[in-house]
């Protein structure tokens, strides 16, 4: 009895939903960013599982691209967060409400 493709896709969906929940309920920009990374990794897991169970290597290759995009995203996003903290002295999203008025 080996783990099936269904199990991997279910786990990937659950991890994605947990990351999505974190993006929706957390108010700290850094933690929101970590949850975004979690969602990217969940998509990666689904790609690898599909690639393995279908016998092709294409999904594995896409993981490289996802990792590259994630690295670039983390670099730019953390630079934005640091610049935001310098000007506003807070990174709580409910205090960053200048556009509301």
């Amino acid at each position: 009895m080996k783990p099936t493709l269904d199990a991997f896709v279910l786990l990937s969906g659950a991890l994605f939903a947990v990351g999505f929940l974190g993006v929706l309920v957390r108010r700290n920009t850094l933690v929101i960013f970590m949850c975004l990374e979690l969602m990217l990794v969940a998509a990666t897991l689904a790609l690898v599982a599909f690639s393995r169970f279908n016998g092709t290597g294409d999904g594995d290759v896409f993981v490289f691209f996802i990792l590259t995009v994630a690295a670039a995203e983390v670099a730019v996003g953390l630079a934005i967060i640091v610049a935001l903290f310098r000007t506003r002295q807070t990174i709580q999203v409910d205090r960053l409400n200048s556009l509301r008025r």
Binding site: A7, L30, T44, V69, V82
Partner: protein
């Protein structure tokens, strides 16, 4: 692939992912993210994607989580209030996440994904299996990724200048 190891890794990955969401402290969240990534790397090893597991640990656990911890230490967010639920927003978040997981699981269970064994053949431990598609079929995306990294580097350099100097010529 033993089912026991798979179940353990699943439970660990989900528990640490929930730890990222529910931890009060950003440092604890980053540590939970690190352990969750380690569990997912274990799942990659179960899928025989050894190289990807190595790269995941190297890039994510090595670079990304270290960068997160560095920024958490740098910003030193003592002033921020700890995490708490606030009524409607948290409720809407939970309902949205539950709907998302219900939809995805319906696709996973009812969609005819096939529950057979993994396809035989290529095993992801050989570098050639990755390098050959990267330099033939996916050559254009590789070049675009290079440009993306260059643009990200330039963007970080521009963003991380002092705001006083950046606002100077306004």
């Amino acid at each position: 692939m033993e089912p026991f190891a798979f179940t353990c890794l699943c439970v660990l990955a989900l528990a640490f992912a929930l730890g990222v969401v529910l931890s009060k402290n950003a440092v604890n969240g980053a540590m939970c993210l690190l352990l969750c990534l380690a569990a997912i790397a274990g799942l990659f090893i179960e899928l025989h994607a050894y190289l990807l597991a190595f790269i995941l640990v190297l890039v994510y656990a090595g670079a990304v989580v270290a960068l997160f911890l560095f920024i958490v230490m740098l910003l030193d967010m003592q002033g921020g209030q700890p995490w708490r639920f606030r009524g409607m927003q948290a409720l809407a978040g939970f309902v949205a996440a539950a709907l998302l997981v219900a939809g995805l699981d319906t696709i996973a269970v009812r969609g005819q994904l096939g529950s057979g064994p993994p396809a035989p053949g290529e095993v992801g431990s050989s570098l050639k299996l990755y390098a050959y598609p990267l330099f033939t079929t996916y050559l254009l995306p590789v070049q675009v990724m290079g440009f993306l990294l260059l643009i990200a580097m330039l963007g970080v350099i521009v963003l991380s200048r002092r705001t006083g100097e950046a606002d100077g010529p306004k």
